[in-house]
Symmetry: C2
Subunit: 532 residues, 2 copies
Amino acid sequence: MSEDRTRSYWGWGYVEEHPDQERIDALRDRLETDFGFPALDLVDPPDLAAVDVPEPGLDSPGFDFCTQDRRSRVHHTYGDAYRDKVRGLRGNFGPAPDVVAEPGSEDEIADLLSWATDEHVAVVPYGGGTSVVGGVEGGAAGGEYAGVVSLDTRGMDDIVAVDEESRRARIQAGVLGPQIQDGLAEYGFQLRHYPQSYEFSTLGGWIATHAGGHFATDYTHIDDFVENARMVTPAGTVETRAVPRTAAGPKNNHFILGSEGTLGVITEAWMNVQPRPAGRSRATVHFADFEAAVAATREIAQARLSPANCRLLDSNEAAIFEVAEGDDHLLFLGFESLRESGSTRENLAEALSICGDYGGECPRGPIHGDRERDKPGPEDRWRTAFIEAPYLWDAFVRLGVIFDTFETAIPWSEFEAFHADIYEGVTDAMDDACGMGHLSCRFTHVYPDGPAPYYTFVAPAERGRELEQWRQIKETASDIIDDHGATITHHHAVGRVHQEHYARETADFRESLRAVKDAFDPAGIMNPGVLF
Amino acid sequence: MSEDRTRSYWGWGYVEEHPDQERIDALRDRLETDFGFPALDLVDPPDLAAVDVPEPGLDSPGFDFCTQDRRSRVHHTYGDAYRDKVRGLRGNFGPAPDVVAEPGSEDEIADLLSWATDEHVAVVPYGGGTSVVGGVEGGAAGGEYAGVVSLDTRGMDDIVAVDEESRRARIQAGVLGPQIQDGLAEYGFQLRHYPQSYEFSTLGGWIATHAGGHFATDYTHIDDFVENARMVTPAGTVETRAVPRTAAGPKNNHFILGSEGTLGVITEAWMNVQPRPAGRSRATVHFADFEAAVAATREIAQARLSPANCRLLDSNEAAIFEVAEGDDHLLFLGFESLRESGSTRENLAEALSICGDYGGECPRGPIHGDRERDKPGPEDRWRTAFIEAPYLWDAFVRLGVIFDTFETAIPWSEFEAFHADIYEGVTDAMDDACGMGHLSCRFTHVYPDGPAPYYTFVAPAERGRELEQWRQIKETASDIIDDHGATITHHHAVGRVHQEHYARETADFRESLRAVKDAFDPAGIMNPGVLF
């Protein structure tokens, strides 16, 4: 933990890492010039001392791990959704929790849940606070509850055990990505789960939301590394068997994975870990035609070559992220192997051969091993953009620009029609709401039966009306997803933002889901407003 | 469907395929001579006309897809568990269902479930009837119910749609393995899920029980091919979204997978399919030391070479299945690739190199492609034995020999101590119950974090006391599994045989599982005695 840097109270990451004036000017210039946006003016966030935070409406329980410190309450008000940033930038912290709890043990969590059940206080589990879907915002619980506690799990951040023989580690829920990396490094292991939020998000948050990570195939979600998990619920503490696989009834792990803090607080898990890859090969392929690029990507996914990276960017996506100029669509391919003698060269060659069949070209050729290029290429610029993006997102918001993403998964045979509807519908919605806008697409993950398309929309907002405009665009996208029978989220989770469409998507299962909720959380205090 | 052959009413498969007298004599001779069993005498199954079947205790509902035909009721009395065969051979069909329903549509299923709910009749979904854990035996429901209906899904056996672009097929639940193979062949696809019961078991049964299949890694269970599923429950018909992956809350597919007929009747699923592999490489490795063989197998699993086959047989297993003589432990390795240019040679070479590090030898060398050897080797004999085994099992029972298996999954670091306890405990239990016995082990599947060990026990029984003796041995094994925190089943499912240990294993989740049950099946009519 770098204590010489300050976490932003309204936006992403560290204040010191936010884009400087020069970077913001360049961004503004590009939006105004290249994208034809109207003149944009930059708004500074208010001082923390000046933001609007209501007094707590609830006395703190007697636990010494609870606080009503103003700064802490502000920090625990929102996640990192677009609507969170807008409200934060306005200095609106009305939904601040009444109490922030930072338990250091399961017993402390159990004590808190017991108190909250008795007092009918809503409890919102909070890991790194990086939810982009309103997953940690308790204020929305409203008047039904006596108050809201944000339960921060960061006090439970040990790597409890490493089982080298079985390549697994028992890790507490509050550990951040880089802490896992550091803690496992001394054993020569990695978790190799790298969501974009990696630096600031926790294992517990990942498990609670089916977080999506580094691998484009095979190991796409945190689920794929979870051997077992443990959760403290209002009805008691539960743990699944720590076994590689079981056929003993409906999988208990799936009562925990994706539960988004609505059933209990995830505290620990046995996670599969692995050594650092010894062999790597990568390449960037350019396509003039998007449909051809999609077909090549599909064939690679179906050839079961297991690429670690198989990220297709349409030309709009390449443009908005400053990855490449021109109209090319780009496919980033990466293969890795645990052994240097692994088949990454052969697999990449096979993938490039498939791309060639569809008119894809690889002007810069493949790279093998960890070698860097003398001159950065599109894939290097993408990596930089990917890391910078959450910071840049805040700059967009400060410039009065709507910037958000939505994502899904859909069978290959249904992608083309879906994609056309999305482009038409969302572009129209942006025109209607904002007079203009820019939409782009990439595939974050690919499966033999379909891709996980990920869309970014950018549009100039009218100050004060941003959320209304955003809602119109977001609603349009969500409706199209639902109309096509796709899923409202492939890896961002449900939170409060997707609640309505989630309920539609799982209509057949509402009653059984509710029954599970009632069994673990009879008083309904856990993260109300999410999933149920 | 071969209509010129007769399905056995008490044992496995076709009567015409059962071992002939010569084969049975050879088996008896081997048991008496090589294994030191006492003199064994062969019992013939009674004529179907002579078996004990009670009159139905319930009038058939008015549906024309229902029957009370005696033969059909006998056929639907049991699965293929050891205790089923013993009772069947004795001519004891006391637990026969009162009615057999063979609906041809979801509407008919819904009608039946509605009637059964009103009349409080237990409904036992029945696919191929190959359960080895008492999953389809409704008679155990006992006096609480007005009667028992066996609901046979074989009337729903269409491949409804094939989506070539997305490599998936929508298949009805009642389709048998070979029918799926034939139906997909015209599209150039396969499901490539080959449980030992393949010829006689159904897609719906596989999904209901987390069936384990062909692949030793990556795609070990039917779950790994399921995109979505559909189920008719007493509370209505439910279907999950047909998408490659979702992060929208707890996974709805996992309300269906492994539900063992206790929530509803699975009717259809979109399944991932694939072309026939174009490249194959295989080899058999001999180890003198079992621990070394386990270590080599572990390293191969952890190297993520993704072998399609990675089956370790200890020398006892090689002996009982007549695969090899001597004290060698055998590791069967197989790799396959969708492309001829795939890396099966390299991956096999890498695996053999790992084996070499642990003293493993490959005297017959690797085989690439579909080439057969001039002279069958251990892996060929294993394949033959694997297919013959269910038939041979019946011969053991007719000879008055207890023959059964149990299986689990456990982390690598815990395997050695567990395995030692199993060998000691189960051998003692056989000595105690039967005076002697033979125990053997193989790994059916392997994971980076642990193996799925599968044990076979064989002991001479006292006629009439078989089930009591069997229960003592089985109970010992199950207790050791539970004591070590392993799972009561890796792929055989729970059924009625594992119910008690399943309840222990899932103690933390009993209430939530029960809540799900109550939501889908409020009257508790679905397959009572299983899971709940």
